[in-house]
Amino acid sequence: MQLTANDFVRLFQAWTEIINNNKDYLIKLDAIAGDGDLGLALTDGFNAVMASLEKAETDDIGMLFFQAGKTMSVYAPSSLGTLIAFGLMDAGKSMKGNKVISGCDLSVLLEEFESAIMKRGKAKPGEKTFLDGFDPAVCVLKAATSEDEIPAALRSAAMEAHHGAMSTVGMLAKYGRIAVRGEDSRQILDPGAVVASLMITALAETFAH
């Protein structure tokens, strides 16, 4: 698998679509867990990213992600929007100068993305956040060591991300608005983990064939 900047523009397109399609669902989940704006912030963010990518003409994958992150930070400055912005920027930094990357490099990209979010947000997997949808997917992809395993790994990453998101029901929240509710937080599905799962699903749909 040889991925160019163009392929990642397709990925951003897929992310933008899936977030837009789930706007009301995310609003509803966040209204239960937090302040009900997640669907607004992220559609604003991804739509702005898409608009900027359509204009920008870079073939540097790193710059593409970095620019996307900067745009995201301006247009979606909510908790998760900002964390995703950090993730995109750090992922971009790690890929700087690359015009083509392999399927196996995807896991590096996602790892950088994840570790930026952990560094800034200070949460770890298991603490009922975005990470619980994201981390299982990263683990699956890391385990795939040869190029021909990647399509299957992407499909199973999407499954794991979904499971991970669902498993936030039962977890105790330590971060974000939902944390103010202490033990009561356990019964609630974390909206950000659902976002992670949607992003991995779109990733798999874009690259797993």
């Binding site: 704006d37 930070s73 909510s78 964390l83 971060y175 103010v180």
Partner: protein, 332 residues
Amino acid sequence: MKKIIDSPKNFVNDMLRGIYLAHPDKLTYVDDDMHAMVKKDITPGKVGIATGGGSGHLPLFLGYIGNGMLDGCSVGEVFQSSSAQQMLSVTKAVDSGAGVLYIFGNYGGDKLNFELSAEMADMENSIRVTSVIGKDDVATDNPENRRGVAGIFFVYKCAGAAAAEMLDLDEVTRIAQKAADNVRTMGVALTPCTIPRVGHPSFEIGEDEMELGMGIHGEPGVRRGQLTTASEIVTEMMEPILKDMQLSEGTEVAVLVNGLGSTPLEEQYLAYGHIHDILSACGLKVFHVYVGEFATAMEMAGFSISVFKLDDELKRLLAKPAATPFFIQPQL
């Protein structure tokens, strides 16, 4: 959704436009971005104080830009943080060499963006920035997770008065932190509010129900219950505040009764009657009472009670005059 607006999408911009037109001599913005609001006349050499946060809480946050209070505010969309870029714009505009203090509420988006803004200000502009975070809402047990709500007013007031005395950044920060450490708030909501772009209320609540410990963004509270009498509601709200503060007899406090949006001033004053009784019964002395809308959630019905523990320093600073387009106080 019954709102006097033109379009949900432009709500915040249209509101900001009205504010700049109404107060052209007091407020302006920088970097061509209405969301980066600053005081028109910045006092040279004074520590700059900046805040920021989502829209929908007027007079919070931008309403406290003015003499004896804040110097700038980055304004987000409804209930959403502003961006770090906007915060940085404000930071640069309000710094006049003495550094900048950020005062903001304990919310993820705000924390992340103010942190980033502070890093950029330091790296790119060599501006020293300190931060004090409001965490006054006792609806949450764990003090670190507490939301910042109406009590931040007292932090603004004391820090603003300290900065106006030309104290240095460390001193102003110390005072702001002390103010933040000494205020506790509890709120109750009777009706939800609607984010214009969402178009429907964020939750439902029965005609005879109330929600204790509700956040000012419609975040769920700690107890949904029957709407009882003002006396019972106030008693239930004061209990966690007083338990958390452990005030000894004779302590002086200031009180803020804050309407969330559509609860009339009449009801807020009625509630104060009960608050006063409870404070008196505990042997506490009320130095000053603020009643009205200080931190709202658009058209939400309900109110919050903040108790601010005073020492000589905080009392002196609280008593100082202040004047913003939204809040004016003579010397007390």
